[in-house]
């Protein structure tokens, strides 16, 4: 990016700007999108530096604090679930765990799974979508029907079923690593048609364009055309829809954790915390509020940034 603007400056007003430059300038002017982007970056940093943050501001996420909980009522002592300088978001009922550190650590799971699953979806969706749209014919029909099949599945159900059926030790992995991989696979695998359809549509319209014909007439073969001509032009919509797929996947993972099929206890996940909080929301509302707000803020930030990105990259928007 810095290289680009230097180039632009050097060539002054005569040289036209590339799409990237235009998009970047527009994005920079969109305050709201930048705010979203800022929050996203902050969240990523929080996830990466979770151990440091928790060491300074909270207690270890798995540590129990019985002194913080009333032994008879099982409810955290203090107002609003025990919020104090020591327990920034209060404590969990029954065991007194620090809600703040659990929310911070939960961000790791949510972001990791969402990013990885999105990458998987994008990979699958782009490859299959491009092939389908470019080659057409029976290849297209086959891939399109497959996409239809996937879209006809009651997704959540299958995710629950698959997650429940896999044993504790599989593919050489166990514990948290296994569950996270499983989540990434399930979410990513079931989300690819969304990207696939869009890419296919774009590829369909692109292949009719002149520059493809030109490349073909120059003797370029299909794989080369796909890589050098199609993909760069698809980069923009892929980027936009990926950014918009991430919040969907965050919500998907939260839903799976909420239904009890995600990463296992006691590893903290936002959806898992919400699921436990449903029993307590009348007397320990902090337990429900903070994980819910975490999901909200994260998803909102991604949506804002994604919207801004789409507006910036869309040549038709004013």
């Amino acid at each position: 990016m810095p290289g680009m603007s230097e180039q632009g400056r050097a060539a002054t007003a005569i040289q036209g700007r590339s799409l990237r430059q235009i998009a970047w300038r527009r994005l920079k002017r969109d305050r709201v999108a930048l705010a979203g982007g800022g929050v996203v970056i902050t969240l990523i940093l929080v996830a990466i530096f979770a151990p440091v943050i928790v060491a300074i501001l909270g207690h270890p996420p798995l540590e129990f604090h019985y002194d913080k909980v009333d032994p008879e009522l099982q409810v955290p002592r203090g107002h609003f679930g025990g919020i104090s300088p020591d327990f920034l978001f209060g404590a969990e009922p029954v065991n007194g765990r620090d809600v703040f550190s659990r929310v911070v650590y939960g961000s790791r799971i949510s972001l990791l799974i969402a990013f990885a699953a999105t990458m998987l979806s994008v990979l699958l969706g782009t490859v299959l979508g491009v092939i389908s749209g470019y080659f057409g014919g029976w290849v297209d029909t086959l891939i399109s029907r497959t996409m239809d099949v996937f879209l006809a599945f009651p997704l959540l159900l299958f995710a629950i079923a698959l997650a429940g059926v896999v044993p504790d030790r599989a593919f050489g992995l166990t514990g948290d690593t296994l569950r996270i991989t499983l989540m990434v696979f399930i979410i990513g695998f079931f989300s690819w048609p969304y990207i696939g359809r869009i890419v296919r549509g774009q590829a369909l319209s692109l292949r009719e364009r002149e520059f493809i014909d030109a490349a073909r007439s120059l003797g370029a073969r299909s794989p080369r055309i796909l890589c050098t001509e199609m993909l760069p032009n698809l980069a923009a919509p892929i980027l936009v829809y990926s950014t918009l797929l991430i919040p969907t996947n965050i919500l998907f993972e939260a839903a799976l954790s909420f239904l009890g099929v995600g990463v296992r206890a006691p590893t903290p996940t936002w959806g898992g915390m919400l699921s436990e909080a449903t029993h307590w929301f009348q007397i320990a509302p902090n337990f429900m509020l903070f994980p819910g707000l975490a999901i909200f803020v994260t998803v909102l930030a991604f949506n804002l940034f994604g919207d801004g990105l789409r507006d910036a990259l869309d040549p038709r928007s004013r």
Binding site: D168, Q282, I283, A284
Partner: protein, 575 residues
């Protein structure tokens, strides 16, 4: 919320024979029953509203096996005998229901005879005969059509190859020779071996009469023909059913029942939190499973004196515990097991189950409710929080001075077990014992996972979180299925999760032969002590259920027979 308490196995009844032989069991102040009757009343009318957080296993009396369903079944069926609907120790005694008196034994307790009361009719007006009782027991033998019910009759009756009335060549389908019906009011049972506790079998709902003409097999549960004070009005499977008064029930034939409400409704599959919320708000009268309110409702109820006054703490003959599996190294070494017992924080375990209201910290096996139970602690620690120094000492003795790693399993759908597993993970870590938490589905827990020796060993399940309750408060019934090494099956489905000590087996056999109550109780204590000395079990809490009764409920008391509210006498002031 919502732990359904299963009925015990055959051995439980073998023990009851002893209880019956030895005389009435001692009821003590320890039992935690509410003593008297709350809100006594004779006022009739109103609708009694029940809710279940799950589904009935089956309304068909031949196909059901939970304490609460047996409690409730007495409203629409009359078995030969039943538990007396009275508070305190009386509630654990048997009184005749369909029969005129308790069973008469002969031939060395291998033959049992009952005489039916005259004038009892089905809801369609047809008279009940002994043949209807025989048919009912016959159909309960068919375990492929009725897989959920208990198998006592299969095991004890002299079947001579009889399988099912649906495969019976006899034109009346009464081909089972082990049950004779010399006339319409007499029924005789012939057993394979002597069993003096047969009256306890006679109270099982399987002896509730079934008219053959109306028997539709696995569909019978859609409309069970009633002999009790209520009959089914509507039945939406899996959703709800309603009952109204049965005009053919004759109070002159029934000294035990005084049915007050005009209508009964039972909602099924209601979210557990909703059940609690509705109880408190007055939209519901009884939470039918009788296990007590959930932790968040408990918090709310205990915080307000107005609500607190409407609760009863039922001490249940149930122990929540963690088994230490000797098949998994290094728990094969007794010192490593003792290390676990010393390191565990018992207060954490108790908190996992709801603090003091959820249960009392257990230091040995037998729940205090059971006659002959005595408390003792072989692994004392300051305020039950665990003794790390002693734990380290034991670890050194077993060759793992820095601790070891193993798995701890629990039933995924039980949040309290999850909390217990997490609590143990925390407290044992203080001694260097690292636990990996592994949840398994409730339905398969004993059959395929924790209760299958090969699986448990292959998957490193060193600690197994579990619980066990006896249906009838009795020492043998509580202990046998969990400490007898001879009931362990390689095929899974075990409730004994790893206790293998021939000395204990011998003591159990000895108890079966002992007729003197005091001597028998000494043996229970001995077995209890031996298990603790062998360090096979980490006892958690002796369960208590916090039952909530809305103010409009009348005639409320805890039945010692079922260890929850007795559903027979309940009434409501709500109109």
């Amino acid at each position: 919320m919502g732990t359904k308490r299963p009925a015990a196995a055959l051995a439980a009844l073998a023990a009851l024979l002893l209880a019956a032989c030895g005389g009435p069991s001692t009821g003590g102040p320890d039992r935690g029953t509410s003593g008297g009757i709350h809100n006594p009343s004779d006022a009739k009318g109103g609708t009694l509203r029940y809710a279940d957080s799950g589904d009935w296993d089956s309304l068909d009396p031949a196909d059901t096996y939970y304490a609460y369903t047996w409690n409730f079944a007495r409203l629409y069926g009359r078995a030969l005998v039943m538990f007396k609907p009275a508070p305190g120790a009386q509630g654990a005694t048997l009184v005749p229901d369909l029969a005129e008196s308790l069973g008469r034994s002969s031939d060395g307790a291998k033959t049992w005879t009952y005489t039916l009361r005259p004038g009892v009719r089905f809801e369609d007006g047809s008279p009940v005969t002994s043949k209807d009782v025989k048919y009912a027991v016959e159909r309960s033998l068919d375990k492929t059509t009725f897989p959920n019910g208990p198998t006592y009759f299969n095991d004890l009756l002299d079947l001579q190859g009889y399988t099912s009335p649906y495969a019976d060549p006899d034109p009346d389908k009464l081909g089972l020779k082990a049950i004779e019906t010399p006339d319409d009011r007499t029924i005789v049972f012939h057993l394979r071996k002597a069993f003096s506790g047969f009256d306890y079998l006679a109270q099982i709902p399987a002896t509730m009469p079934v008219p053959r003409a109306k028997d539709t097999g696995s569909k019978y549960k859609e409309h069970v023909v009633s002999t009790g004070p209520y009959k089914f009005q509507t039945n939406e499977l899996g959703k709800r059913f309603t009952m109204v008064r049965n005009p053919e029930w004759d109070p002159a034939t029934d000294p035990n029942r005084r049915p007050l409400p005009d209508r009964i409704t039972v909602d099924l599959n209601v979210n557990a939190d909703d059940v609690d919320n509705r109880l408190i708000s007055g939209d519901l009268d009884v939470a039918i499973e009788g296990a007590g309110v959930g932790p968040s409702a408990q918090g709310r109820i205990l915080a307000y004196q107005g609500l607190r006054a409407n609760t009863d703490s039922a001490s249940v003959a149930r122990l929540w515990y963690t088994a230490l599996n000797p098949d998994v190294a290094p728990l094969d070494n007794i010192h490593c097991r003792k290390a676990v017992l010393y390191a565990a924080d018992r207060t954490g375990y108790q908190r996992a189950y709801g603090g003091g209201t959820g249960g009392e910290i257990a230091t040995n096996l037998l729940p205090p409710v059971i006659p002959g139970a005595k408390r003792f602690d072989l692994y004392p620690s300051p305020k039950h929080t665990g003794d790390i120094a002693k734990a380290r000492d034991e670890l050194a003795q077993c060759g793992a001075p820095n601790g070891f790693t193993t798995g701890i399993s629990y039933r995924a759908e039980r949040p309290k077990e999850k909390a217990a597993a997490e609590a143990l993970q925390q407290s044992l870590a203080r001694a260097g014992i690292k636990l990996e938490i592994k949840p398994y589905p409730l339905g398969d827990y004993t059959r395929l996972y924790a209760g299958k020796p090969d699986y448990a060993k292959a998957n490193d399940l060193g600690l197994i979180v579990y619980g066990w309750g006896a249906d009838w408060p009795d020492g043998y019934g509580f202990l046998a299925q969990i400490v007898d090494s001879r009931v362990i099956r390689a095929t899974g489905g075990n409730t004994n999760l790893g206790i293998r000590d021939p000395a204990i087996d011998q003591m159990l056999d000895q108890a079966l032969l002992t007729t003197d109550t005091a001597a028998r109780e000494q043996i229970w204590q001995g077995i209890d002590r031996k298990v603790m000395e062998d360090a096979f079990v980490l006892p958690g809490v002796w369960a208590r259920g916090l039952l909530y009764r809305p103010p409009n409920l009348t005639n409320v008391f805890i039945s010692d027979g079922f260890q929850m509210y007795d559903y027979l006498p309940l009434g409501t002031t709500r109109r």
